[in-house]
């Protein structure tokens, strides 16, 4: 199988309420991606949350390079997780985790 190119994204999740857990955030992205782009794109995205600091709301995720725009767009469209309203801010994209500094 051909190896796919990955991209890593550093982000901040702004919120006005209690902390959002890693599981909640990850599920919210999957749901948004599924709703906006459908099952095939969601499957091909290979989205994975590498690290996430629930207190600061910062983290890094990885996905397939071809699906990067769609994954970020899906994350930007998330308005609330549970009852907590959020605003997703993409910070920096890189081909390696090291490149994110």
């Amino acid at each position: 199988m051909k190896k796919t190119r990955k991209r890593y994204l550093q982000f901040t999740l702004h919120r006005n309420g209690a902390e959002i857990t890693e599981k909640q955030f990850s599920n919210a992205i999957w749901s948004s991606l599924l709703s906006l782009y459908g099952e095939i794109c969601t499957a091909d995205s290979k989205f994975y949350l590498n690290s996430y600091d629930a207190k600061k709301g910062t983290g890094i995720f990885q996905c397939n390079a071809a699906a990067l725009e769609k994954v970020i767009a899906s994350a930007v469209m998330i308005n609330s997780i549970g009852n907590i309203r959020v605003s997703f801010e993409p910070k920096k994209v890189s081909g390696t985790i090291k490149g994110l500094g």
């Binding site: 970020i72 801010e89 910070k91």
Partner: protein, 233 residues
């Protein structure tokens, strides 16, 4: 310098929350819906606040009157897309900066002819993305349809586009980089999307700052130096 040309602040007491959020997101200026004393006011937190006026008239006569009263006071004058007659009037009038499409007028369409007129008078199409964030499922699909069609029409006519939040709550604001991804979802390419977030709002502000300055006489005519007042011999 990214500027959010439309935030809907319900009362001036909530302005601080929006200023904080704009600061966190890296936005350098906002145009709130509240009335300001001057066209541009610098807030204590270093954020530029631009006086924005949305025209509310239903007929051309009342709109002309309203525009005449507001133009010298407001930095941004916007007109929500409505019927063909009034939209064409707003598109043709150089004093109107933005033709707005947002949650209040989702069903409205931007006609090709309106877009071409707007292109010649340098009026931009403003898309307020709060309507997308606040809807889900089929409703969101309808919003996307309206916004994507309008964006396509504007781009085909070479009309400028501005992306703004239309946020009534600070958390509904998005960072400039996030806004460019919303632009991509509306069918723009990367260049157009960046232009709609970073350059066009800035250009409109700079253009209006020049027009509102005391040195401005008319298009292409400015006072560059004032002479001494001398009495005739």
């Amino acid at each position: 310098m990214p500027i959010d040309l439309n935030v809907r602040i319900l009362g001036s007491e909530r302005l601080g929350e929006f200023e904080d959020m704009a600061g966190r997101l890296g936005i350098t200026g906002i145009a709130p819906s509240i009335e300001l004393d001057k066209p541009v006011v610098m807030s204590g937190k270093g954020l530029a606040l631009y006086f924005r006026a949305d025209l509310k008239g239903k007929r051309i006569h009342s709109l002309r009157k309203e525009l005449g009263l507001l133009r010298r006071r407001a930095m941004i004058v916007a007109f929500p897309l409505a019927g063909v007659e009034t939209s064409n009037w707003a598109a043709e009038d150089r004093r109107v900066d933005l033709l707005t499409l947002g949650s209040d007028n989702i069903g409205r369409t931007l006609k090709d002819s309106t877009a071409h007129m707007a292109k010649h008078s340098e009026t931009a199409l403003e898309i307020q993305f709060a309507a997308i964030l606040q809807s889900t499922g089929l409703n969101r699909s309808r919003v996307f349809k309206g916004f994507r069609e309008a964006a396509r029409t504007a781009l085909d006519a070479d009309m400028k586009i501005v992306l703004s939040s239309g946020a009534s709550h600070p958390i509904n604001m998005r960072s400039p980089m996030a806004m460019t991804y919303i632009g991509l979802m509306l069918g723009m390419n990367r260049v157009d999307s960046r232009e709609a977030v970073f350059n066009t709002p800035q250009q409109i502000i700079e253009h209006n700052e020049r027009k509102l300055s005391s040195e401005f006489v008319g298009p292409g005519v400015e006072i560059v130096k004032r002479g001494d007042k001398r009495e005739k011999d």
